[in-house]
């Protein structure tokens, strides 16, 4: 099971100049063979299917825990795409039956506009849907780890190239972060293979052979030490990460670290309505009125309780205190 936290893994810039062609390219990191859906669902299925977990507990914990972080990467890629698409259709007065989408004819992924509401899709940069053939779960631990190292290598390649292709600040913030965190996963699987077989894979790093530190947008994360840390994404479980993830970093020689808490993350931006594509409605204000009424009827606060990034102006007060809804819940 999971608990969901309404925060994203790292800060992304707010919407600025829309970039639909860039958003189409970033889809590779979502639904491509090496995209975040693939890393997430590969490790998830491998953990679901893990036999004799107790016997191989450090390895099970490693795979299961990285899976949890990958969820946040899927979410982050979606947030980036959504941000880059914000404003691509006119926000004010851009309602049908105006030709609000005319400038987008032939630009980017047509499903961003025709099928979705300027939102992320489970597709790659060619508009082809992610599919279950991208999941490898042989059940053979050495093999699954070999796959995972390869998968992370392919993912690193894709992130680097999306970085080079898409200069939009949101894409850069995204890839800068993912390169650092994906690099940790690439390393974790190589180290696990080493622990299991005695092979020495460290000289394969970096792969592709450009050092991560050369990417400007990676530097803040490296400076913070995030290239060394494996976070434990669970309140009580997956305690044996440190039995595998330890020793020196292959490129810097620094000691690897298991952080015994999930990262705190940040609230996401509340992205603006795009009425030309009916997201969330042809007349979004009516929904807001209904929502307020429903909250009041249910004895909740009049204002929305969710936390969003400050640029949206509606950040509620404190965070990190366990909150219950205003009205006593019937249990």
């Amino acid at each position: 099971m999971i608990h969901r936290i309404d925060r994203i893994a790292t800060e992304l810039p707010p919407p600025s100049e829309p970039d639909p062609a860039g958003a189409a390219a970033v889809q590779e990191l979502m639904g491509g063979r090496f995209g975040e859906m693939s890393t997430f669902l590969n490790y998830m299925f491998q953990s679901f299917n893990f036999r004799n977990r107790q016997g191989a507990r450090p390895f099970y914990d490693l795979v299961a825990n990285i899976a949890a972080e990958e969820f946040g990467h899927v979410e982050l890629v979606a947030a980036a795409i959504n941000t880059m698409l914000s404003g691509a259709s006119p926000v004010d007065g851009g309602h049908a039956p105006k030709a609000s989408l005319a400038p987008l004819k032939g630009v980017g992924n047509p499903h961003h506009f025709l099928a979705g509401g300027q939102g992320a899709l489970p597709q790659n940069s060619q508009g082809r849907p992610w599919n279950g053939d991208y999941v490898f779960s042989s059940g053979d631990l050495v093999e699954d780890l070999t796959h995972n190292f390869f998968l992370e290598t392919g993912a690193r390649n894709n992130k680097l190239k999306v970085y080079e292709m898409v200069e939009h600040p949101v894409a850069r913030a995204l890839t800068g972060y993912l390169l650092v965190r994906g690099g940790v996963h690439q390393l974790a699987y190589a180290r696990a293979l080493e622990r299991l077989t005695g092979a020495d894979l460290m000289k394969l790093f970096p792969s592709p052979r450009i050092p991560t530190e050369k990417i400007p947008e990676c530097k803040p994360h490296i400076k913070r030490g995030d290239h060394l840390r494996l976070y434990r994404f669970s309140p009580n479980d997956y305690l044996e990460l440190g039995a595998v993830f330890n020793g020196p970093h292959p490129e810097t020689g620094e000691e690897l670290i298991v952080v015994d808490d999930p990262p705190e993350g940040v609230p996401a931006h509340d992205l603006p309505s795009q009425p030309a594509v009916f997201a969330p409605d042809y007349a979004p204000d009516e929904i807001a009125k209904i929502a307020e009424k429903l909250r009041t009827q249910a004895g909740l606060s009049k204002a929305p309780t969710g936390e969003v990034a400050s640029s949206s102006g509606s950040k509620p007060a404190a965070r990190r205190t366990k909150r219950k809804p205003a009205a006593a819940r019937r249990t």
Copy 2:
């Protein structure tokens, strides 16, 4: 982001008579158009792509929160398939180069054996992979909710039929649970549509038109009240569920309830190694020795720390106390 909890949503029986043909049928609930991957990833993408969340907060919270529960359903279907496949190849002495898989030729999904390690696949009952075309995320709230109600209706149909086709006790425990919980989600989306538009969909229940209470394996869950409850799967977020999910149940008239904590779940069984398919290895015992050594080297306990269902014999002591690994972690 998510936190992962190493427990499954409800108790499943331990491995008994293997049922590979049954496991192949249960895959429909995993990777079919209406399977749990679909419910999980539909709601996940809808929540990722939700614009003007603050304005429509009760609806955002509802979709985002149900997505979190669905993750646990994906996991549960995987656990059921894995359990049903346990023992399908000989557990003792069933190593290659023996013809350990010969009795499985032409039985069930060949990828359960040839591609995987007698493990769940992101495929449907025909062995076709789940794909991103099964995700609907229009961004239009009324439309997405209309879809979700339809999706849950199709999912309920599939669960009922898998129930009728597969008598294996694990499949029955699975479908009994999913029918009750899926029914809550079906209702939640219908209610959300009502709140948003004023339409009255309650006479559409039950759909298909067999009452859930007729299924024996559903009864314990109904008795416990799980047909009325929407759990909040987050420590701090998604507080506005109650603004939408309230009022009477369409079939029983009982009041709907928001439970302000996730369900506790139960530990999963530690399913036995299947050496004929190299899961987790041709010689699984060697991994266990390596694991123990690694734990010791890392200053962790000698015994595995993970919690598994008692039939596997290695359940650790207490639960629900926030644990840190034995060795101080370097942060």
Copy 3:
């Protein structure tokens, strides 16, 4: 546009012993690369896309008109599959939550039961969906006709093999009919190529090289002359068929014939409810009561007006007289 006639192209036997494995094989004739969906949609798209129709009118008329007949073949394959699946789950008392589908685990196409209501699917014999890549519409008339001749050849092969594999009387009646009619289309396209280029393709017949007359189930149709006739499936259009479809039959030397009216067809059987799969409902009788009430309220006859094959007992009186509903319609 089309007008729809609630009759099928030829008589099929009523439900008898169900044959789910046979029905799975017959799906090849529905959704396979050479199935009836392919012939129907290939010719349909070719006719939609036909440029300079006036200039090439006899060929346009030929393709457009055969397309119309192919619709009836899709319908007929569906009727056959549905009939063969009737009774595969228990008809009386076979309601959920009984294990009514347990004997069908591992038999045939699981989607016949888990996804559908023991009904035909747009899939092939492997359970893979028909897809648009099976349509060839180059716009080049010679090329499209070359394709169509090849397509009919492949289709004839498939029909012959399904004939050999499935002995069920419905499958035999189906393939016997389709072989004769498909043979006419194969010939029509070869003749059209001859008319257009001067090439002589007649020695390619029969292809595969077994004469149609060797198939017992084809004989009644041959005896009736249906191997020589191209029907005009339109009240007023496609008048130029005879400019192409004429001359001797390549195998028998008999003169080819254009019939200036569609065949009359026969009413289909009203296949029984299959409550185990909720087709058309968990409690089908309730629908019948609602239907009767709705008819009465609308000023229509109390009894259903539709015509079905007599074995179902509810055949209404006369046919072929233009009927209007009992109540005057508001126009």
Copy 4:
């Protein structure tokens, strides 16, 4: 079975400025998940698979009859795409080996030119083929109707967005018409669900929540009353439509109407040859000569008999009189 009528459902403008990028977008209405192939084939399969038709006759008639209208919508989308592609390659002297397609490199759907003859494809706006997974035919009537209502909702969304994206007059004429007619089908399924269950879905209209009457190109059709009418697309069958389709329109309160005849339609334009893509030939004039010769040989009129829209100049005399070919047919 069907009879085919060589007329299209509504008038489209003749070819003007070609718009290949627009044509690529309009493909979403053809082969997208919610395109006309989907509506047509969903209802077709549901009618094929309908069990106990006599018992549920009004509903069977409704689904079967709407399917027939949808065929005409598939045809209309094809006509629109073909018209928009006319002239995209040079019509005069644009023969190979000239670089007649060079300006089209990187524009629109490459298969419009490389695979087809500037013709419609069974693909969506991304160039992905329609496939059978888009058909839902559970056999459960309530469920199928729920699906159909959802399908029409998604289809309405797609039409509105294509309207906004593609300003070409043919695309506008197309979407204006389809929005009105699709709206009738959306309503018909909602009404059927109401009749069957007692639920009240009328407040879900319009969905998406923009009223159809706001679209200028819809207004003539609304003015004519086409938003209220369900046509019976059959000479003798499907008589019970009025038992379901009645009562007030949810938005206007006007009474719904069953029209007991199909709409008359209009002849399509005879779109010009595109010799650069060999449609219908590298040297189209030769075909015309052959055709004339074949007609003469067969005793038919020297001039083509087909009816096309007047802008093409070759409209034959009267319509609506049952015609037989000039030469007596051998039957």
Copy 5:
């Protein structure tokens, strides 16, 4: 370019008891993600796309040369499947319209019979077609080699499991051979990675962790030394294999060997006609007569010139002498 040699890589037993279910399983080695089509086409595309070949010549030569051997593996898998399917339909008198395929209903891959002529398909064990997404060709040499090592690991897993599942002597001869040769490729890619990066991957062998020598059918090939040899599949090219492929074998310590000539191979069996599926015809003898006549007319020998395995009785005299056709060719 290639020159084709009409011999297969190793001897397979002649047809014996047919095994259609086994043949369906063996398809995984043909068209599965890790089948021989994948190894062949991955290395082929990588060699096509190899930039700066001169600079990286030893690696280019290695990849390009292994690709050539893999072609022979695709061919060998096809030969095995064809042999296992021989006799599955009656060979004598098994012509249509007899129900010659009735015993095969529901057995194995239906396309072996309905679509093909009891022949191999580009599909996997589930009947799903091989597709280009299975090709990885990043252009980055380290990455491509990492992939290739992983691919060979997955392929070894699949071969081992097919070995365990299918006891048919042809399947055993096939997998015994492929395991030895695939093992060499797995090693070659690991060694190439070592040479390029300095990493030491040898402790990853064997993977899966069962030694190849435990498989009885591998032993003759090992005894012959084929587990150590890389053959050069070219008369004049790919001379630098030995710069990469050298050093000790990771499991046995024996020295690796480059053989400077392709293996000689053996003639394939001439598999018998299967008239029930029209392979090669409904009346195969007629083709033989035509062939003989054509040879005579062309001034060739009366008897066929091709070499086939002796069990088929028609092996021509000498081999390995460069032959020209009997009649002088016009050049």
Copy 6:
């Protein structure tokens, strides 16, 4: 089995102005339904699956031998695409983290840059992967030949249109060559059908109906007589080609010719590194140093031994003498 020759079938111009949109279009000739992968793999599977080869030897030889030539066409299309993509990212100093791919956003096939290293893909012009459904191998010889004639017709259409769309000199050289050679194959299959059945297909040529000689880039190949020649791609096998491939050319009346040796081909260009996409590395020079060292260690020449086209400056001395590596190989 095959022997691989490190030469391509015809000369292509060296890299000049890159044309990524053109390269995306040329992909149709690679991975499209009628691309060279299809011709290659269709004939390959047909030859693998050919039953009673001795009886039908001239036909087996024909299909098997054309398959071998088609391999070279796949390779040639890849070479063309790779050449057209060379230089699309900056060659000097175009390393990450620069935005070296920014000008390519939204241009051509994004996988050329994001997934591959500016290399060819097994995809069509829409970026969809080639798949095994494009292979037709019925086992019925007449049918397979009918298919092959159709396939070559469709392939000729595609080549003509790519010719018209892409003016890049490499694309023109490619299509000019393929049209001539594909025309020979189209003819070979038609002739085979004639020989087998007695039908006369010659009047179907040319199809599409533009004569090949009208294409300027075809003329040199026609002048050389390559439109008349079938090469035997084997040192010793497939000797009976001349029993089928003979008689006059349908358009020119010249006599067809079997050439008893493969064409010599030409060395390919050694395409430049593209460091922005890591092809073959982020720092390609390092690989060259490693390669040189490895050669030296293995006792091979210091300089690379491979032959490449002279424009790359590193062409080694003589060709066509059987070479062995410098160091004695251990056999």
